[in-house]
Every structure is written in structure tokens, then in C-alpha cells.
Amino acid sequence: MSKLVNFGIDLGTTNSLIAKFERGNVEVFKNPNGFKETLPSVVAYRNDAIIVGEKARTYAEKDPKSVSSRFKRKMGTTETMKIASLNSSKSPVELSAEVLKELKNFIHTGEKPQAVVITIPASFDTIQSNATKDAGELAGFKSVILLQEPIAASLAYANKEKNIDLKNSQWIVYDLGGGTFDVALVKIVEGELTVIDHEGDNYLGGTDFDATIVEFLIAPALQRLGSFEDLVGQMKSESGKFNRLWTTLLHKAEEAKIELSNKSSTEVDLALIRNLEDDTGKSFDSLITITRSEFESIIKAQIDTTAEMMKKILTRNSLQSSDVEFILMVGGSTLIPYVRKRIEELMNIPVNTSIDPTNAIAIGAAYFAGIKEIKDEGVSANTRTSQGRLKARLGYNKNSQELSEVFQGRFEGDLKDLFYRITRDDGAYDSGLKKLSNRIVEDLPLREGEFNSFTFKVLDSQNNEIDVGGNSIQITQGKYSVAGQLLPEDLCLVKDDLGKKDTILELLFSKNSVIPTKTKKTVAVGKTIVKGSDDGISIMVVEGPSENHSSTNKPIGILAVGGKQISKDLLKGTDIDLTFELSESRDLHVSAFVNGTGQEFSQVFEPKPRAVPVKMLATEILALESKLQSELKDAEQNNNIEASEKLNKLIFQVQDLIVTAGTLSDDDVTDDRFKIEDQKRKIAQEMYSATSSKRVDVARSSYLETKREVAELVNRNGNDREKHAISAVFAREQVFLNSTNPEKIQAEIDELEGVRFEILARDPEFLTGMFLHLVERRTTMNDQVQAKQLIDNGRRLIDQESWDDLRIVNSRLWSLMPSTEQNSEEMRFFTGIV
């Protein structure tokens, strides 16, 4: 009934491809015009016509303002690309959709795929992923499945090198494409590919090398030949005199770069550039020579950063170079010989170039598409042959969507007095002892959505096991042969931290958790929301490390529940049950059930694209710098050498950013501002982690103090349950004290404080003291008559030493206090939930 997706698309920054899985093989479709596999991701608008690909590139030189390229890097931003011939703008999503539509023309089999797998960099955030999905839908695909590029590359490799035993091996996928860089640690666990960890930069790729060539090699050469005032600035600014030249030169640079992969030097012919004149009107017809070593020296720093990212992954996973089998090179930019050489040199891990870096992702996407929605067709049977007395061939589907799966075995040899038995390892199934025959067939029941492991045994009449070469049957129900895609960043809920008058993050889904996934949280309303008022609560989800402050993470969406929406007043402390569902394509569905009113609110977060106005960016960077300076001062005062070193380094980086941001014109056409914004956020995150030690230190010493006081109190007055409660906290002390998350320590302090309060609430001295304290404030109480009665009663109870009753009197007196007195500290609410 159900069909397979079969079609996979690599939607690249510079080139895109489409491939199809059929009967175990993948075909990469060729462009009917020109028979190339790759379609340049370039869209041109000429009169009424939309031209995509090679021809669009040609127009880029004649009429660059009506041609758009490299839009993948602007996916998920509010940026639109101005198209002169249309007199309007196109969004990156619309442009990507044009490329996808054009790819459909490659399909020579006449099929019209309704569903497709589209690859995205592992480091794409939710907003960018959703934008990619939108593009697919806009191009007419009814269902779009996203697949992370490192998994696609690894699938292409694993399926190509079928004879190499990859069992239990791990490798790194180094994907340096046209515009994005991804590096991922991939492992085969039980026959399934899994991305263990990854790093990436969405703004690093071949395109940046092109820009570097223009900026540092071609522009200086031009300046030497003629007279220009601020040539680079005038090229990059949209209103600049040489803006058109920028696009033209980028193409020239790309050609030069490709040539340099084979030759030791190349030329850029200025005579071929139309209307090139300097400020004095002088035109050029000379050649600019670029050597391979010049090129290598300007990209060295960028390549070294990529190695740094790989080292980070190794350190994080406590691995050494020797633990990694190889570095699998994919992406067009890995064709640059220097990249391969330098990476091998820096990492001391062999680089693997056995797959074609240009089409590997598309091939992998097709393999993935070929197993998507698998229902009736069988996957490769697992066949085994035993040694010795028995010859056995066992066959079954390793992946199943059914609730039971047929297991077949054929046996040759002396079967006399032999039996078999199959048990499920979770203890819920046992076939019983059955007589072995030449052919056996068993229906194995499967648990839904689980990894089902069975043990198959052949036994003789004395119940001794006969070796048939392995006895484990493993069937995954309802999953795919890829272990799943991983979430690139933590997703967290923003809550109010009343103590610090700030917000804290609560982890919803941790980085590298397998999607799709689902979680539930219960939060409390932090302030009373009056029905019909403008007040409200916000359920806000951000993307980024959970130990950071919410402001350093990317907002994904807000579900607002306002006073006008609720059917009755929402009292402070009311529980709200939140459900968060994350689909395989990273749509986040949030629903909130408000216990007080019985209402349910839900929303699918469609994250807003990022808008990065140049002016705001500059202000934010300056604010970050001053924050860094004050943190540095703090760290120096506390003699925290490690932190001050890190902060100093960050200040250096942020000052660099200030300079770069300063050179941006308001109408900058490059994607520099997104790069800068990304870097700014990274610096802010690093600052937070560098200074977290400060907050951790404070939390640690506060914990130790609380521990001392509470332990003393419990020893003196605590009961068994309280003793048990604090020893449980002490027992896990090693774990949380060594964590880098101050909130974790605070939670433990709160637990101890809870015990302290319980004991105090029984302590006559404390109860009397509290009573006297309340008596002092009797004038402010709401009901004076009742207050007087309670106070008289309380005095009597003290005389009678009736402490339990006194506790009740205290709490009733407390409730008579006006709420302003109860919450004397002014609260600031950000989200309204705690």
C-alpha cells in the first residue's frame, strides 16, 4: 500500500542535485540541457522568464542585478534579494523553490514525486530548517522530509563500500560545501548510522574563498593598476559605484579557484569584464595572475578553524585521533588539494576521498528516501550459514512496520532429535521448544516503536545448544535504518527566576536527542492573571545551550496566553501542563493545558525569520563589549586567571567584530551581517560559559554553608525521613558540585532549605519567634477583630506548649497580612511562569 519516497535532493549553496533510489541502486539525474548532474543554485529573472542554473549564471555577468545566487545562506532570515528586472524582491525560500522546481525537470522517467527528502546542514537551526521545508512545499512537494547532510554523506559511503567492514567503527564527515561547513562524528551502532556529535559554521564555504580571492587578491591588484577610492567598500555596498563588479568578480574568482585545483597558477582576464573603469575613467585589459600558494595562504586561517572544530568534537567525546577511522571528505570545496593536505596534517587522521564529493549528499538522500515509509517491500534479508553439523540460513526483515514479522530458517544436515526455541529478550515471548525441520517459519510478535531483540537457539535432546553461527535476531519496529536525526542545539523553555529577578532556562530537548520526540512539563503561573486584562503569560522556547542565559539563545517562538483569552481568573500558583512535540522536520508543536480554567491552547511554532538590521547589530555588539569589560574587571578582582584570559580573548574578538561591523554599509548586499550576528552570539555564549565558573563558585559556597547549617539542625531535631532526605542530597553532591550549571546547585540548596523549614516549623523556639514577629505587625493586618482573637489564642497556646496548634495560628495570622507585605520584594515578571 504505502510507497517509498525514493527521491532525494541536495539543495546546495552553489549547486543542487536530484537522485532516485530504485531497486537497491541510486541514479543521479542529469540535466536534460547539457547533461550535467549539478544544477547551479542560481536564479535569473529575464523579462517574463525565470531561468535557473547554468544559463542564469551566464546572465549573472551581463545583468547581475536580476540574478540571485547563494541564497541558501540567507535561508531563515527576513532578507530578500532585490531583482532589478522585476522591480521587486524575492525571498530565499521563493528562490530555493525555483531551484527545486527546475530539478524536477531532471527526472526523465516522467514521474511526478509528491514526497522528497531534502538535505540540510546539521548545524541548520529550526528556523532555517523550516524555511527549507517551506521551499519544498512551495515547489509543489506535498511532503518534505529533511535529512542532515552528514548522515546523507555517510549513507552514500556505507552503501558504496559494502564490502568494507564498518561494524563498530566511527569516522568524521568533513563537509565543506559552497556556503556551509559541517563536521560530524558518525558511528555505526548495531548496523545503524548515528551522528554522535557535530559542529558547523553556516557561513563558511567555497563562496567565502571566492570573496577572499576578490578582496585580498583581485581588488589589491586592481588598485595597483588603476586609481580607486575605497574599491572594496564601493563593491560591497548596494548603492556603491562598483556593486555590479562585486558579483562579476565573484564568478571570476570561483573560476580561478577551480582552476587552481589542477594548476599551480591561473589568470583573471580583466578585458573580459564589461564596463570596467577606475575612478578616472581608465579601462583595463591586462591579466591578473593568481598562484596556488597565494590562494592557499589566504584560506589557511579558515581551514585551520575547521580543524579546530574537529578537535573540539574529539575533546568533547574524549577521543584521540587514532580512535577515528578516517575523515570522509564531501562538498565541492574539498576538491581543493590544500584542504585535504592541511586537514590530514592538522588532524593526523587519514582523509577519505573515495566518494564523489559533489554528488555524495544527493546519493545519500536517495538511499534515505528509499527506506522511508517502507511497508510491503522487504529489506535485505539477513542470511547466515553455520559451521559444523548444521547448515542454517536464517532470514527476516531487520526493519518492520508491522506488529509481527516472519522469521524463516532453512536447515541442512542431520536434524534428528534437534529442537529450536525463540525467546524475546524482554521476557514477553517464548515460542516453546519445537522440533527442528528443514524449514521453519515463525511469526515473531514485535513491540511497537521498539528495538526487539530475540534469541534463537537450536538444542539437542539433552538441551545442549548447537552452534548455528550466531543466535540473535534483531528487528526494529517502526523506525528507519538511520538511527534518527539529531537535534543540533538544546531547545529550552524560558521561565522566570523570582529570586534573581531574571529568567532561567529549563531544558526541553537536549542537543543530539533523536527527533521526532516529545516531552511534557508542568509549570506554575507566577502571578495572578485577571480575566479580561492585558496581562498574560508567555511560553517561550529558545534554541541554544541550556546552561546559557536566554538572551544568548535564538528565540524559536512564543505561545502567549492573555487575560482576554482565559475564561476565569488564573490564580498565582496554578499548574499549566505543557506538551512539546518536535516532528522529524523540526516543527515544534506546543500545547498548554491550563488547570485552573480547563482551557487548552496550542500552536505550531513557525519561527520568524531572522532580521538583522545593520544599525541594531552595531549597538548590540557595543553592548556586548561593555558587558565583557565589566565581567573582565570582576574576574580580575577575584583573581580568576582562567576566566580573565578567556574574557580577554573574547574582548579581542568582539573588538574585531566592531571594526567589521563598522565597515558594513546600511544596504550591505553580502551576508556579512548574518555572519557577524552568528559570531556575536557565539561570543556571548562563550562569555556566559567563561563566567559561569563565577556563578558556580557562588552557588558552591552557598551550598556548603547551607549544608553545614542544615546538617547541624537535622542532627539536633530532624526525624528519620529528614535525615534520609539530606543524606540523599549529600550522596549526589559530587555530581552536582562538579557540574558547570549553577542552577543545578541552586536546586539542591532549595531542597535543603525545604528540609530546614520543615524542622523549623516544629521548633517551639522558631514558632514562638514567628508568632511574636507577626504580633508586632498586627496593625497592618486586614481583619483586626480576627487578628486579636488569633493573638490571644496564640498566647494561650504558648503557655500550654501546644506547638502544632500554634503553627496553625501562625499561618492564619500570615494570611491576614496584606499581599504587599507578603511579597515585600517587588517582582519583575518576564514570562509569567515559574
Partner: protein, 121 residues
Amino acid sequence: MKYPQGLQVSIPKYIFVFANNLFEIEKKISISGDPGNFSRNITKMRESLEEHGITYENPEGEPFNETRTDLDASISGNGTENLFVVEVIKPIIRAGASGISAVIQKGIVVVESRNQGEADE
């Protein structure tokens, strides 16, 4: 794949008491209705157990044969073919992480032979 180490850890007895009683409350509600809307609270308690890897299942109505080792069944009536679970005294309790779990308490059930027409309903 072997089951996670965690599964070998003994499960405290109160977990079984808790799960069995929750199951019983659910059963009672299904019989006598839920005027006070307790279901929501019970769901929350059940989910809290699930967060710690403990799930319980009601096998009522499921077919039974001798290969099922997650049930301790008493056969009522005379027939021994086409058996179905007609009454659940204790649910099946399982422990484990998502994707892998194991039975930690067998369900205690009564099974009965049904003729074909009934089984299809």
C-alpha cells in the same frame, strides 16, 4: 543489543504498589465513571512513572497463546483454543528506556475461549 545496565537494578517494591493501584483506579473509573474528572491526575501520575522508565499495560481483549510469557493466565471455561484476555487482575509492568524495555511484572489475567464471531468484534 543487550538491555541497559539500569534494568538489572532492582525496582523498589513501592513502584509496583503504586503502578498496580493506579491501574486499579483507572479500572474503577472505567466501570463507575469519572464525575470528579480524576483521569487527568491519574494520567499525570502515570506519566511521572513513565519519565522514570516504568510503564504498565492493560492486556484486556488481547489474544492469548502459550507463547506469551508476559502473562500469567488462568483459563476459564472449557475451551483452550482462540483464547482472549477477559479479565486483568494485575497489569503488565515494564521498565526501560525509550525503544528498549523489559517485563518486570507479569500481568495476572483470566483468559477465555471465544468463538470466531466474538473475536472479530
